[in-house]
Structures are given as structure tokens and as C-alpha cells.
């Protein structure tokens, strides 16, 4: 059997879609079938990706390897004169890596879900939507053009909406889903405009196609056909997309709320893959952002701010999943910052390792929730004793997150810090502080929830949940050693400076130490600390009041003032005055006109005579 590269590529993309359709059509009331379909399809996808990876790395001499990177296969989706939009798979190092993460981590989480969601009524729906998500995510990853990317972009948003609101009976879940979708919509407003504007800057032969644009754009700018002046605006508009999807400040508000969804969902979508799509998109189209340094600066600062501000929020959070969510925000901030600093490889590297350890952390948290039905860390404690494997997994993940030397997070974060050190000193220091805070809040969660006295009795989770934990833990440990940057095309130039790793290790150590002192040893009372820092603490507790401001805008400004005003205009002016007024006027005219009809015959005669008078006047005037 000859495996064609395009067939393999399409298989990566389409098998989850097939599973989603299959579940929707046949599996609505068949739980096992649904799960099998979903997992099977994703595994097929994963296997295809691996095969592609393997074949592409084989070096052949006799004939050119058909699995040559980059590879593109596409179908014409819309083909009109002046507009061609294709739908296809673009396979290069970047997409291959991302596809591996999506399908690999995804498979682990799918398997984990079979146990986690075992008691759920909407089991089939869950897997159906999950498969749809996998398809959508792969659409983004393998996109050959902006429109396909945007389609995947929207579809992941939709699946995220469905999955966050999976337990729709819970008002908070329903609201959270809505919020996530809406915030992303706002961001996509800019994104869409960016896509349109980018399309339109080309005077002729407009295209959405990445590779074409990548080749053409520098040429066109050089020849002056495309003005450089418009590109910053386009870049900023396009960056709106990642701000929403990757939950950058100030549109980060949806991600913590998204924790209302089932935990595997949080792991897959709101930690490992979907939220990273923004970063991925920036990498994918880095050729564009490279041209506009001003946008890159903006990106850097947005990323750095997100990293820092989210870390601050994580310091005071008590919900285990929300802590992880803020840490996700923070780490996404790192990635975006890396991109802003010109380090696409570093960003992707961190994305990958983060996908492993953050998925691990979430799945571990899920395991905790599954075992204890509790996610407030203050009500947890001593899980180390009752849930040994889970705790171990959390520990590995946590340490990787902190950037503990030797674990994957250390390497990838280090890349970013090095980059920042080299390019942007303020950002570097901010990132460094953030690293310390990361270590602190991770350790805080660990010490409160996993060590100390047990509050209730949890029970260890079934193997279907533990095995994925093990796999991900393994990946979190080794991901720093398998040469991901190399695969992405970064060669040699290892930084001689030991200063950055050193500083980083020191800061992490300080963070861990502080957390140990406060939460394990109790040397410093957490209570006293809170009282001492009451004002900033409450400020953080209220999440900088950003939610309140948005709420005020949505509920008061938009709903009550703008929509209310429009509705008032509609009701009173257009319907009440113009339309009904005209109707009233007409009826009134009828009432007035018929007043002539007094019933007295002489009034009628008078009318007749008046008519005659006017006719005679006419005759006379002629």
C-alpha cells in the first residue's frame, strides 16, 4: 500500500471530523460507541501525524522524498474570478509539531475523559464536541490560508463554548460559555478586519494564501506596491485575534470563567491547545509581523503584562483550577512576549512544553476533583496520602511549570528569558519576577492542597485517568531534551551567558522557599500577610475590577443605554410616532372628511355648489 502524503495529511485533519459526524448521527444514545469513535479517530490522526513526521525525516537518495517539508495539499473551496479560497493541509515543521501536540495531548485527554466523564448523562455529546474541537484545532494548525485559519478559529471558539457550557443547567457554566464566546467574538472583530485589510492591500491577485503572501509581501513592499504605512494597523488588527483566543490582557477575562467546563476540557482546550492557537497563529504568520517592529513591541508588552498580571492574580486565588487558569494566562503571556521579541521558536517551544505540563496539571487537578468533588484548595489538604499518583503527577507538572531545573519548563522558559535579556531589559525583569511568582503560587497550591492534614478522604482515580497522567508526566520531564527548537529550525548559537539561567533558578528558588515558609512551615502567617497587604490583596481578589468594568459596559452601557435607546427610538419614534402617527393621521383625516356628511341635505347642496363655483371660476379664468 502506497501512502500518499496528501492522503495522510487529510487523514490527520478529517478523521476527527468523521468521528464528530459519526457520533452526531449514530452515537447520540450509544456511549461506548461515541467514546470509541472519538478516541479512535484522534489516535488515527495522531498516528498519521507521527507517520508524516517519520517519513519526512527519512532521507532518501534515489528519488525525491514525497514527504518533503513543507508540503501542501488543498481543495478549492470557493473559486470565483477574483477570489480563490482553498481548504487544505499545510504541513511543515511548525504545523507538524503543533499537530503532534494537539493529537498527542488530545489523545491522552480523550482517554482520561472516558473515566472522568463516566457518570455524565451527555457523554456522547461530550465526545462529539470534543472531536469537533479536535477537527477545528487541526484546521487551524494545518491551515493553508487566512480564511481556513479563521474558520478553525471560530470553530474552536464554538466547541469551547459548548464544552464550557457542557453542564448548561448550571447558570454559571452557561454564562461562562457565553462570556468566552463573546469575548472571543470581540477580538475576532479586529481579527477579521485585519484579514480583510491584509487581503485588500494587494492591488491585484489578492490571496489569503500563507505561502504566497510570505513570498509576495516583502517583494511588494520593496517595489512600493504595498505601502508600509498600513501594515502596522493590519498587524495590530490581526493581533486582536491572539489577544482574544490566547486570553491576553485585557481580554483575558473569559479564561478563568471557562474553568466551569469539565476539567479535561480545561486541560485540552483552555490550557494545552486552543488558547495556544493565538501563539501558533503568530508563529505561522510571523513573516508578516517581522516586517512591522512597532507591532512586535506592542506584542511584547501585551505578553509581558499578561504574564505578570495573571501571575499576581494566581497569588490570591483559592480555586485549584483557577490557579491553573491564571498560570495558563501567565505562561501564554510568556509565549506572546517571546513572539514579540522575535523568538518564534522560543514561543513554540514553550507552547509545546507548556501543553504537556499544563495538561498534566489540569488532569491531575481533575483527578483531585474526581476523587474529592472539591476544588477549593482551602478545603483540600493532605492529598499526598490519599492520592499518591495524582499528587506525584501534580508535583512533576508543578515543578515543570515553575521552571525547576531539568524539567521541560525550565528549558523553554529559559529560552524566552534569554531572548528578553538580549532584546528588552524591562520585559526581562518583569518576566523574571513573574517566574518567581509562578514558583510561589504553584508551591502555594501544592502545599495547601497536597501536604498537611487531610480534610476529607479522597480516593485515587481509575487507571484510565492515571495512565494519561503518567504519559504526560513523562513528556513534561523529557520535552526539554528532545530537540524541539532544533526541529523548528533553530541551530546552534547556544547562549554562553549563564547569567539568565542562574537568575531564573535563584528566583524560582526564592519563590518556592517563600511558599514553603508561609504555607508549609507557617513561619509567616498567611493571614497576617493578607492583613498587611489588605489593599492590593482586595484589588487582586477583585481581579483588578476588570470584570466589573466589562460587566458595567455590557449590562449598563450596551444593554441599557445603547440598546435601550435604540429600542426606545424604535418603539416611540418609529413605531409610535412615524408609523402609528401616520395611521392615526389617516384615520383622523377620514373622520374629519366625513364631517361634511352631516345628513342635512343642504350641506350637500352647498358642497355641490362650491364645486360649481370652482368650475365656473376655472371657465372664467380661461
Amino acid at each position: 500500500m502506497v501512502i500518499s502524503p496528501s492522503a495522510l495529511g487529510w487523514t490527520i485533519l478529517l478523521s476527527p471530523l468523521a468521528a464528530a459526524c459519526g457520533i452526531q448521527l449514530f452515537g447520540v444514545h450509544r456511549r461506548r460507541l461515541s467514546a470509541t469513535l472519538a478516541i479512535g479517530a484522534l489516535l488515527v490522526s495522531f498516528a498519521s501525524t507521527l507517520l508524516w513526521y517519520t517519513f519526512s525525516s527519512i532521507v532518501t537518495w534515489a528519488v525525491p522524498n514525497p514527504f518533503q517539508l513543507p508540503f501542501e495539499a488543498s481543495l478549492s473551496w470557493i473559486s470565483l474570478p477574483g477570489l480563490t479560497i482553498s481548504f487544505g493541509v499545510l504541513i511543515d515543521q511548525l504545523s507538524l509539531l503543533m499537530a503532534l501536540v494537539v493529537t498527542g495531548v488530545g489523545s491522552a485527554i480523550f482517554i482520561y475523559s472516558t473515566a472522568y466523564m463516566a457518570d455524565d448523562d451527555a457523554y456522547s455529546r461530550y465526545f462529539g464536541v470534543l472531536s469537533l474541537f479536535a477537527f477545528s484545532m487541526l484546521t487551524i494548525v494545518l491551515a493553508t490560508n487566512w480564511i481556513q485559519l479563521f474558520m478553525g478559529w471560530e470553530l474552536v471558539g464554538f466547541s469551547s463554548y459548548l464544552l464550557i457550557g457542557h453542564w448548561y443547567a448550571k447558570p454559571s457554566a452557561a454564562e461562562a460559555g457565553k462570556k468566552a464566546f463573546m469575548v472571543n467574538r470581540v477580538a475576532d472583530f479586529g481579527f477579521m478586519l485585519g484579514i480583510l485589510a491584509l487581503w485588500a492591500v494587494l492591488p491585484v491577485d489578492r490571496t489569503f494564501h500563507f505561502q504566497t503572501l510570505e513570498k509576495q509581501l516583502p517583494l511588494l513592499i520593496q517595489t512600493g506596491v504595498v505601502s508600509v504605512a498600513v501594515l502596522p494597523l493590519i498587524g495590530l488588527l490581526l493581533f486582536c485575534g491572539p489577544i482574544g483566543k490566547s486570553a491576553q490582557f485585557p481580554l483575558h477575562v473569559w479564561l478563568p470563567d471557562a474553568m466551569e467546563g469539565p476539567t479535561p476540557v480545561s486541560a485540552l482546550i483552555h490550557a494545552a491547545t486552543m488558547v495556544a492557537a493565538g501563539v501558533y497563529m503568530l508563529c505561522r504568520t510571523f513573516w508578516l509581523f517581522e516586517i512591522v517592529p512597532s507591532v512586535l513591541t506592542t506584542i511584547t508588552w501585551v505578553g509581558a503584562a499578561t504574564a505578570f498580571l495573571a501571575a499576581c492574580l494566581a497569588l490570591v486565588e483559592f480555586d485549584l483550577k483557577r490557579i491553573l487558569a491564571y498560570s495558563t494566562l501567565s505562561q501564554l503571556g510568556y509565549m506572546v512576549m517571546a513572539l514579540g521579541l522575535g523568538g518564534a521558536v522560543a514561543g513554540m517551544y514553550h507552547l509545546t512544553t507548556h501543553a504537556f505540563f499544563k495538561a498534566l496539571l489540569f488532569l491531575a487537578a481533575g483527578s483531585v476533583i474526581h476523587g474529592t468533588h472539591e476544588q477549593d484548595i482551602r478545603k483540600l489538604g493532605g492529598l499526598w496520602h490519599s492520592m499518591r499518583w495524582t499528587s506525584l503527577a501534580f508535583l512533576v507538572g508543578g515543578l515543570a511549570l515553575c521552571g525547576f531545573p531539568g524539567l521541560s519548563g525550565f528549558f523553554s522558559k529559559d529560552e524566552i528569558l534569554v531572548l528578553a535579556y538580549g532584546h528588552n531589559a524591562p520585559a526581562f525583569w518583569l518576566a523574571l519576577v513573574t517566574a518567581g511568582m509562578t514558583a510561589f503560587y504553584t508551591a502555594r497550591a501544592w502545599f495547601i492542597a497536597f501536604t498537611g492534614k487531610a480534610h476529607g478522604h479522597g480516593h485515587e482515580s481509575p487507571p484510565a485517568m492515571l495512565i494519561p497522567l503518567g504519559v504526560l508526566a513523562f513528556l513534561s520531564i523529557i520535552a526539554g531534551y528532545i530537540g524541539i527548537p532544533h526541529f523548528l529550525g533553530q541551530h546552534g548559537e547556544h547562549h554562553a551567558a549563564w547569567l539568565v539561567p542562574g537568575l531564573s533558578i535563584a528566583v524560582v528558588a526564592v519563590g518556592l522557599l517563600l511558599a514553603w515558609l508561609i504555607y508549609s512551615r507557617g513561619t509567616v502567617s498567611a493571614q497576617q500577610l493578607v492583613q498587611a497587604l489588605a489593599l492590593p490583596y482586595s484589588f487582586l481578589q477583585r481581579r483588578y475590577y476588570i470584570d466589573e468594568i466589562y460587566m458595567w459596559y455590557v449590562e449598563t452601557v450596551q444593554q441599557r443605554w445603547i440598546a435601550g435607546a435604540c429600542a426606545w427610538v424604535e418603539r416611540v419614534i418609529i413605531i409610535g410616532f412615524l408609523v402609528n402617527g401616520t395611521a392615526r393621521l389617516t384615520r383622523r383625516a377620514g373622520h374629519i372628511l366625513r364631517l361634511w356628511q352631516t345628513g342635512r341635505v343642504q350641506t350637500y347642496v352647498l358642497g355641490f355648489l362650491l364645486g360649481i363655483v370652482s368650475l365656473l371660476t376655472l371657465a372664467l379664468r380661461r
Partner: protein, 100 residues
């Protein structure tokens, strides 16, 4: 010299007097009388024009108009009788059930 215009002015005045009568009288019978005045005014005009043209057509028309007027009176009186009989009034102002 009395000419056509004299007769026509007379006819116009007569016609207008008839109109005024119709407008000002309230008794159906009086209104019918005033209508007769109007017809007569027209008759006068016809005859005058007949003389002006020197043909007899105008006079013939008057013959018909007189006949029609007579018939009209017949019908009018019949209705007046009905009014008096059924509504006990000949005052047109009182016969105004149908309105608006």
C-alpha cells in the same frame, strides 16, 4: 336694444335665485319649487339661444325639459307625501338620520 346678453343675465339671476331657494328653504316642497325655478332659468337660456341661432332646436329642448320637470315634480311630490306620511314632517333638517 335688448339682446341675447339681457336674457342670459336674467336667466343667470333666475337660476341663482333658484339655487338660493334650495339652500335656504327647509320645506321639501319649497325646495322642489326652487328647482323648478332653476329649470325655468335654463329654459329661458335655451329659448334665447334658439333665437340667437335662429333655429328651433332650443325650443324643442325646452319642450322636453318642461316634460321632464313635470315628471320630476310628480316623483318629488310622491316622496314628499311619503315623508309627510311616514316621518310626519316635510322639514329636510329633520330628515337627517343618515349621516357621517
Amino acid at each position: 336694444m335688448i339682446g341675447l346678453a339681457h336674457y342670459l343675465v336674467l336667466s343667470a339671476l333666475l337660476f341663482a335665485i333658484g339655487l338660493i331657494g334650495i339652500m335656504t328653504r327647509r320645506n321639501v316642497l319649497m325646495i322642489l319649487l326652487c328647482i323648478e325655478i332653476m329649470f325655468n332659468a335654463a329654459n329661458l337660456a335655451f329659448v334665447a339661444f334658439a333665437k340667437a341661432w335662429g333655429n328651433l332646436d332650443g325650443q324643442v329642448v325646452v319642450f322636453f325639459i318642461i316634460t321632464v320637470a313635470a315628471a320630476e315634480v310628480t316623483v318629488g311630490l310622491a316622496i314628499a307625501i311619503l315623508l309627510a306620511r311616514q316621518l310626519k314632517t316635510l322639514n329636510v333638517d329633520e330628515v337627517s338620520f343618515l349621516k357621517w
